[in-house]
Amino acid sequence: MEIDIVTFGKITEIIPNGMMSFSGLTDTDQLKATLEQRYPELAGMKYKLALNKTLVQENKPVIEGAVIAIMPPFSGG
């Protein structure tokens, strides 16, 4: 399954932007676990996901072509 990964802030330096292949995952919790395996630095960081421009507050299903944003803590102002 191909997922479009969009990263922000510090995470842009850890995970590249663009389409990424995954297999056997169906939800955002599994996606997080896979990302943390592939990018161990992410596991030690605080971050939030957005699925198709909606902040992920609880586990959500993920389908082919989903756009997932990976966001470190906000630091505007």
């Binding site: 969009v6 922000f8 802030g9 510090k10 957005a50 421009k53 902040l55 944003a69 966001m71 470190p72 803590p73 906000f74 630091s75 505007g76 102002g77």
Partner: protein, 154 residues
């Protein structure tokens, strides 16, 4: 209360982002535009300025801001509606920089107005806190030797 909410709900999502610093003349013009709104008795303004912080002997020369713009503007719209539902404001204007803002320049402008001072003061403070916490915006602090660190909000 319901009136304030209705007034805002009619409005579409506004952009708050401007490229580069917020200029002092823009702020002055913005204040000037309110002279025709004669029900206003109080304005409250918050201005964020890029600090020339020193970190391990290096100084911050600028902050480069990026945002997840769509998500930020949706969230800002929701915050705006909540604030108008909570306080009897006449108006509220918000601007945040994107791109590079040098130390000493302004990066954030929140401007609230009401008939009497209390709602403007409280709403302004609350909006500043909420924007810093809830809007997907990131600051990259640039040092003079071209290295950087990612800003963290206190």
């Amino acid at each position: 209360m319901a009136n304030y909410r209705k007034k805002m709900s009619d409005k579409r999502i506004k952009n708050i982002f401007i490229k580069g610093p917020v200029s002092p003349s823009f702020i002055a013009d913005s204040i000037g535009k309110h002279s025709s709104k004669t029900s206003i008795g109080a304005h409250q303004i918050f201005l964020g300025q890029v600090r020339r912080d020193e970190v391990d002997g290096k100084t911050v020369t600028a902050i480069e801001y990026t945002a997840f713009e769509d998500l930020a503007l949706e969230k800002m719209h929701a915050i705006r509606e909540e604030i108008f539902g909570k306080y009897p404001l006449t108006c509220m204007h918000i601007y945040h920089s994107l791109g590079t803002v040098k130390s000493g320049e302004l990066c954030f402008f929140v401007f609230t107005s009401s008939a009497h001072r209390e709602p403007a003061t409280q709403a302004c403070a609350e909006v500043v806190e909420r924007i810093k916490k809830e809007l997907p915006i990131w600051g990259k602090e640039l040092f003079e030797d071209n290295t950087h660190q990612w800003k963290e909000n206190k």
